[in-house]
Amino acid sequence: MAIWQNLFTRGAADDAAWRRFAVWLLTVFGGGIAIIYLALIVIDPYDTGRFPTFMPAGIPDEHQQVNSASRGRNPAFNAAIFGNSHGQLLSPQRLSAQTGMRFVQMTSPGSGPREQLTFMRYFLRHHPDTQGIVLAADERWCTHDAALPALFQFSPWLYESNFQYLTHILSTRAIVAARKRVMMALGKLPAYDPAGYWDYETGKPWNFHPGTDDKPLRAIATSTDVNRFFPALEALDTFTATLPASLPIVIVMPPQSSQMLPETGTVAANELAVCKEAIARRVQERGRGVFLDYLVDGPRARDPQNFMDRDHYRLPIAREIETAIASALRAANPQQSPPRATPSPPAR
């Protein structure tokens, strides 16, 4: 008798016991999964507002990769700041006060162009009346990698279609988030700041001692024969093509300490220069916005007091950038004269 034939013929009683076991297992498993799934839909752990829910607005999670789904659809805002931690210190409250717009922080630490474009599309989908966009575009926007890989833990399904959401929501992480949201609804956990501002400097002692940078000033090199393919910028073009022509976009290349800048004459320096030219040209051609380039060498970049670490500036620098952004947005206001290209602010 073949091996598969002398097995499992253990008698009707044995098979009946297995039937009860299998049916019980499948019922508990299927029923349990169904209950959890429905609970997640109803509780809406990330406050995406996709389906009717009895839960109050807001979520208690401080992780920007997930709480952006809540902030990004909040109707209280009509302008947003995008980027990663290099744009994180820009205060939405201060920008709101200086421009009259209602800003929300949509930066996500560690993110790259793919994630930031996803957040931008999500915000615009929920805010067709958007008044202003600020993009803190660091050197990651100069990538040549056409795949634009996600650079950090990222859940794109939170920001895409309902189908994507429904086919990805079932997870341990969502259950933990749902529990927290229930605790928030019961008043036992505070909701995270809906404007999304998180100041990484306050409360931390400054301790950045990079040593003296005595190299010659790293100049913006004349463009030479370098790779001019910037797929992230092309993806940005696709996005901006969908926007109203009157919507101002301010692109900021945030400052970093001088040691982070490529040496003059290197391929990296030339490519950065070409990338900046490409960004400036796009802003110029769009005609409603400005490119603020702070990624330059000079007294600001060489003063350690201006940075928490090699690539994260401090609050005074953030205030300076906010003032320039606000000025650019006011200048781009449709009621006023047509905008002009704004040169890089003078170094401190």
Binding site: F8, R10, R19, F21, A22, L26
Partner: protein
Amino acid sequence: MLFQSQEFVLIFWPLAALAYYAVARSAPARQNILILISLVFYGWWDARFIVLLVGQISISWAMAWLHERTKSNAPLYLGIVLNLASLGTFKYLDFLLASFEGMTGVALPRAHIILPIGISFFSFQLISYLVDRLRNDAPLYAFRPFALFVMLFPHLIAGPIVRHNELVPQFDEDPRRDGMWARIGIGLTLFTLGFAKKVLLADKLANVADPLFAQARDSVLTFGEAWTAALGFTFQLFLDFSAYTEMAIGIALVFGLLLPENFRRPYLSADLREFWRRWHISLSNFIRDYLYIPLGGSRHGVGRYVVATILTMGICGLWHGAGWTYVVWGLWHGVGLAVNRGWQQLNRPLPWVAAWAITMLFVIAGWVLFRAADFPTAASMLRSMAGGNGFSGSLGHLGLLIAGAAASALIPSAYEIKDMRPILNPVTATAMAVLAGLCVLEVGQGPAVNFIYFRF
């Protein structure tokens, strides 16, 4: 589509089982359904390679049919060559080009061919059938059961490597025959246990081993780091692959089919020959029957035995991957087996603990070679493990390594579980359901991690 994905567990498998049992009374209908399901499963990875899979199956069957009609062996040899050519092209072409370039300095363009998933497995199954035809050991099957034997989805991607005579006769058996619920219950249990091993242990061990092996490419690991990486991968590989096998056997059982066993607690082996009787059993049997024995085996003197063993294991290494580290890993085991046999003929058995320790050290060293990106990385890690860079550092993730060791040694194999008489009551059923539910929720955290043997 991976077994350990929500779409497979919650949608594909239940729908497939329902469709199968809806037509179960008709053998042709249930074979047709399984073929359709298997094509959908395979096409989910990359629909382009369905053509390759169906093409290789069709050509191999056509060669067998021609052999039946003409009684000439030529079609069979042609079929074997074509299967080897397909495998060689898709899997080894760039490797051969790189090796030629390395030896001669002549730069050659690379083909950059995408490796069709499962090609190593289904090519070997087709070759085994054609060789059995040459040996008059295989009937000419009708095309439908023959195609199904190769493409049956539970074993299609990463085995077990099933022989035609192990599977084809089962297609005539009505899945609703006596013992149906025992098969379904055991199948669900095996699947759940494999699911848990993969998601709750193997993938966690990958997070320990992968960064350290990556770090070893650029820097020297400490003694502790090297052993953490080596042990982490040792347990990860076994738990990952055995988990896949248990899930495959479990899935097949729900359809009333029994796949062969593939593991039998190999890390309890006290010598290398025993290890290869317990590790990837279907592959071991294949290379024994189709390489080692035709090369002479152990029946033509010591010299022939040594050559057959080393050559067989070298080819086994090459089958695992298009890289010289795999080949050397195979040769390492070939030499080890030859030395093992020589020692056994001295008739001086070691205490079990000593024999086990030596075997495990040998196997672990081999896994370092198997996993390392290149020879310098492997050499650096092995040197660190031997204390050549000092004895600094301690084992990291000790709890996880202990869990991996315990799971590898204590969890019964698929066939041991299959033959057990478990306590069947709502408590054990609920425990299995909760375990399966936890695994489903765990895989929802992010992209599923492929099984290691999917890349072979």
